[in-house]
């Protein structure tokens, strides 16, 4: 474990690296700062790669005028719905198939096929089925989240310790109590292990869905900007999306710490 001092130094270096990248971006794309090295026209670099100051300005305008909020709200709502629905479905199906070997044997090839299918390709079909509003994006996100959660729950249930299970049965647990007190908690630790992945994919599902056909959302904003070769807005949209992806990931970490207190963490040696 790094000490707090060295982790502070590390944080400083990370910020310095970020500033360095921005500075390089600025210097390489500014039409006036450097003589054109690669492009014949000094404005071409800015046309292809945007300009950091203009990107920041665009983000500032979006947030100060409030014009981005409805789009952001739609994207986050789609993400949240896809995440919740996908997780619940994955949990239920995972528990069911893990505890019922016959059903698992029957459905096994279908699950494998559905999982190997490149599911992003379903987005246009969902657009036809569910319209261009949020439902089609949620559906795409659900298909992405579901399989991650499903496979983790399936694995989690099958890897419940035999001794813990036998012990609970001898202590008098009925089948329902086994499900509630042994299988689900055991599976939940696997679900949490996959949570970072599934939140990320719910987000991907929402944005890709918007990008392929919608009238609202951050993905739609980016698509519009691309349509008018407004590269600065494209980069601004990407940056906003990245920031919110990081935020979601951080929230998952918080929830994980809260709900998995019973799991030993690396570096924790508290024992008496």
């Amino acid at each position: 474990m790094p000490s707090s001092r060295s982790s502070k130094t590390l944080r400083l270096w990370q910020l310095a690296l970020f500033a360095g990248i921005l500075a390089f971006w600025y210097a390489a794309t500014s039409p006036t700062l450097l003589p054109p090295i690669y492009f014949d026209n000094p404005h071409k670099a800015a046309f292809f790669f945007g300009e950091p100051l203009k990107v920041v300005e665009r983000i500032w305008v979006w947030f100060s005028s409030g014009s981005i909020y409805p789009h952001l709200w739609v994207t986050l709502l789609e993400t949240a719905l896809a995440f919740v629905i996908g997780t619940v479905l994955g949990l239920v199906m995972g528990l069911w198939l893990a505890l019922s070997p016959t059903a698992a044997a029957l459905l096994d090839p279908y699950i494998k096929a559905l999982n190997s299918m490149p599911r992003v390709i379903l987005a246009p079909i969902f657009g036809v089925w569910f319209g261009l509003d949020i439902a089609s994006k949620v559906a795409l996100g659900v298909t992405l989240v579901f399989f991650i959660v499903f496979f983790n729950v399936y694995q989690g249930v099958r890897e419940v310790s035999y001794t813990v299970l036998a012990n609970a049965r001898i202590l008098g647990a009925s089948d329902r109590q086994l499900l509630r007190h042994v299988y689900v908690p055991s599976a939940m630790s696997w679900v949490f292990a996959s949570l970072h992945n599934s939140v990320g994919l719910a987000f991907v599902g929402a944005v890709v869905g918007e990008y392929l056909g919608s009238s609202r959302g951050v993905g739609y904003l980016i698509l519009q900007a691309e349509g008018t070769f407004d590269i600065n807005s494209v980069f601004a949209g990407i940056m906003v999306l990245t920031a919110f992806a990081l935020l979601l990931d951080w929230m998952v970490t918080l929830a994980e710490r809260r709900l998995l207190v019973w799991q030993p963490r690396g570096g924790e040696t508290e024992k008496i």
Binding site: T163, V164, I170, G172, A173, H181, S186, I272
Partner: protein, 269 residues
């Protein structure tokens, strides 16, 4: 005591496992074991002789291929509800605190939460874990986890306690401490105990009777030795008495051939 109904009676038990490729392995053969109410019986034998199999049959986790099991005269079907089981390996639910692990059995039986907690607190105190109720298993040492497991089993007041080498993973000092505590708890409220171990000294110092199993496969009891050492005992001190050494020599003599046989079989594989 021939007229008394045994707390646990395993009669002519035979356990044959069939693997998927059709290979048969008979772990136990012609095994009869009767345990009187309040009696402490240890079963010793070389490694891999089917001691755990015997216990799994007694608790109803495993159906014997032949033979009958009677619990206080009643033929056993399904899990043995009169028995508590202490496992060799970790059996606590890692997502429950020590206290929640101890209350688990009562919770499964529908006992009210407050009542269960009060009872669990007093059991944690009895096994020397006052103030550790809020800790999760991974925050406890091996010895403490065994104590929690002991409280978890004993809180249900089982008439028969089955123990599968419960202390084999502990260091020798912790182990003797736990053995003494077990004897103390047991003598306060005498239940029938079947204690499986490969450690002859542990078996003699704890029990009323030691049963020696032969080497597997087809393990069966080859000797029974009543232990007439006075109680209460201190497991560390009693090992130094002449009578203990006599008994040890006697039983070891019976066991030795089986241990060598088991060793030779392992060498072959």
């Amino acid at each position: 005591m021939p007229t008394e109904v045994p707390a646990l009676a395993l009669e002519d038990i035979r356990v044959t496992f069939v693997s998927q490729d059709g290979q048969r392995y008979t772990a136990l053969q012609d095994t009869t074991l009767r345990v009187a109410p309040g009696e402490f019986v240890s079963v010793v034998g070389p490694t891999g002789c089917g001691k755990s199999t015997l216990l799994n049959v007694a608790v109803g986790l495993l159906q014997p291929s032949a033979g009958s099991i009677r619990v206080f005269g009643q033929s056993l079907s399904g899990l043995n509800r009169k028995a508590g089981y202490l496992f060799q390996t970790e059996a606590l639910m890692p997502w429950r605190t020590a206290l929640q692990n101890v209350t688990a059995g009562l919770e499964f039986r529908g006992v009210e939460e407050k009542e269960a907690e009060a009872k669990a607190m007093s059991w944690l105190q009895r096994v020397g874990l006052t103030g550790f109720g809020g800790r999760y298993p991974h925050q406890l040492s091996g010895g403490m986890r065994k104590r929690v497991a002991l409280a978890q089993t004993l809180i249900l007041d089982p008439q028969i306690i089955l123990m599968d080498e419960p202390f084999s993973a502990l260091d020798i000092q912790t182990r003797q401490l736990m053995e003494n505590e077990l004897l103390e708890l047991w003598s306060a409220n005498r239940k029938s105990v079947v204690f499986i171990t490969h450690d002859l000294e542990e078996a003699i110092s704890l029990s009323d009777r030691v049963v020696v199993l032969s080497a597997g496969p087809e393990a069966h009891p080859i000797g029974e030795f009543p232990i007439d050492l006075p109680r209460p005992r201190d497991v560390a001190e009693i090992r130094l008495t002449p009578r203990f050494l006599e008994l040890h020599t006697l039983i070891w003599h019976a066991m030795k051939a089986e241990v060598l046989k088991s060793y030779a079989q392992q060498q072959k594989q």
